[in-house]
Amino acid sequence: MSAPTPLLAMRGIGKRFGAVQANRDVDLTLLPGDILGLLGENGAGKTTLMNILFGTYSPDEGRIEIDGRPVEIHNSAAAIAHGVGMVHQHFHLVPRHTVLENLLVGRKGRRGLLDKAAAAKRLEEIGRHFQLVLDPDRLVGELTIGEQQRLEIIKALFSGARILILDEPTAALTPQEADGLFDALRAMAAEGMGVIFISHKLHEVRAITSHVMVMRLGEVVANLENAPEVSQAHLAELMCGHELTPPLKPEKQPGRPLLQLRDAATDAAGRTNLADISLEIRAGEILGIAGVSGNGQRELAEVVAGMLPLSAGSLAIDGAAVPQPSATVMQALGVGRIPEDRMGTGLITSLPLSDSMVLPRIGAAPFSRHGILDRHAIRAFVEAQIERFGIKADGPEIRAGTLSGGNLQKALLARELAWDPLVLLAAQPTRGLDVGATRFVHEQFLDLRARDRAVLLISEDLEEIFTLSDRIAVMYEGRIMGILPIAEADVRRVGLMMAGMADAA
């Protein structure tokens, strides 16, 4: 018997963005019933490859076959027509539309009108078939992240997808929600659909996929069956091309409390407000904040950064209460701040790098005197930082936006660490960074810890949290579910707390 016709075959795909070769000669085969795990570091070219399959980018080279027939996919409409559905990492939903309206976008109507009745019927069928139930009339902005993802999958099925691409689908889910997602995916595979599952979470890839394809620097480095003898360590090595060793974290006795929040609460409109937050970080300590995204981590970061006022409770730095926190006050008190969105909130990508580096202190000596800039001081400072942190940049005057993500983050760290902060707030500090840059960032945190500074590490990457933290606080719906010393923390326990279950132990 001959081999079955592949549902999908991509052959010799190449794609270049400016100087970056995002994909080089990539082959990919998907059979009916396959769940293919697409593994790779950030920047390995996974998302680019899938965007080519979905018609968002057009490939420079290569061809695509579906059901053995060559196809041209120049836009998403063509991809959908060929039965390709994609669930993006950042959901493509309209919060102000209802569930049903989101499903109807891009669809033909009946006699020129939106066909809501038929859509509602189809929604119900899909719900019954795959255990993916949603109320058609709810506003998408009111759904939880898990529900929004469900809607994205329903959307793909709704338009007749037989090949479903999921880009980092579990990034914002609790471990338990992720299990529910996996059940639905298995049901789809059982019906002869093909699923491509992009992730860098090895244990999930091991748990759900039938095959694994590993990419590095735009190329395929391995194609393997997901057999029991394939170890996570092996996959990790394939992904980054060398062996991983966890960074050195010596035992340390914490000192005096440098950051304290007591019964802190916020009341900003349209946000996940904090309630009853009490925590402290001592000198020489790294406190990790774990949680599913959108459970108040962003608000906590903004409070510590002085960007969001408290409606109740108190904030103290180095034992002294801060009555009127603001960006300026917090910086003056020695809080270094690494915001979550380094391109949007941290730096000004359209201006020279040096502008971003001196931005927080431009109004005072040494960078200006009586409102007049000291350009020599600015230049000397920026050059020193570029040197100290090994930032790869063509001098201080280069437009910041031309730097790679890792170098941008180095620049941001250099800017904040130059003034020797007592407390460092770091929100998602390694998101989107490659292995080397991540390593660098982690070493800086451990160095601060060694020098008796305090680090507040907010991250959605549980591995990062477990590697660096001395204690782990878990947030859920704006509250702290519990704070565990690292010795007592394990993924299952933290996962349950992330899902809002009070700690049993």
Binding site: T56, Y57, S76, H92, L93, P95, L104, G106, L113, L114
Partner: protein, 314 residues
Amino acid sequence: MDEILAQIFQIGFFAAMIRIATPLIFATIGELFAERAGVLNLGIEGIMLLSAMVGFSAAYFSGSLWFGIAAAMAAGVLSGMLMGLLTVTLGLSQHVSGIGVTLLNSGLAFFLYRLIFGQPSMPPNIVAFKPVAIPLLSEIPVIGPILFNHHALVYAAFILVPLAAFILFRTPWGLNLRTVGENPHAADGAGVNVAATRYQALMLSGALMGVAGAFLSMAQFNAFTFGVISGRGWVCIALVVFGQWSPWRAAGGALLFALIDALQLRLQANSYIDVPYQVFLMMPFVLTIVGMALVSRNARAPAALLMPFRKEER
């Protein structure tokens, strides 16, 4: 005082209000379509001015008012396409593009008018649109003369508002358009051609602004003057904000503005009040600004307004 009020609030006053509101409704709904698709069309003032000139000239030479309207709409559609080229295809700043389109269109309107008509001592004029009384309805006391004895374009404006709401909220094209304005990536992911949708919205927006401009030169003033628009386009942008991007509320805002405008015309003509007439001309602008200040803080503009959409941007 009672005498003044009685003199102001006559049937003719309300009929005038409806007439004044008509071009505002056309232009506001036009702007609303563009903004719902994510493009702020600041070309509005110039598009209205050019259309007023084109419509007037076409009617003057053809003798057909409807041909004039069609020509004005064509000018508006072309301007919409220019706006699309700048903001959609090239992804340029919507603010600056719109101001540029306004400056260019205004210049063209003046240039072409002078080229066609020279500098006559008496400005050329046309026989403007005549009121069409709707049988039976126009005979209802009070309401009849206020609502049902107008130019055909006034009735068209009445129909336009529910029609626009219907298109936006009940048809697939309307849903796609709103999605493009809220989250172009979502629309693109669902197979909607974002650029084409924005172009369509801008062309429709230009056509409606064209009617608005033509109404002013062909129904309101029956001649083209350089001051024929004098800020009405900018007011319509404010009305879209004031109307929270809803056709109904925006039309309500247009009626409110028209009420103020009609009021100032009456007060100007009123000999009891000794205030320079410019103060009355100023009033609608001041009130528009105040109105915007009142609603803007809570305004929910389309989320992708002012954002260019480039697919391959990383």
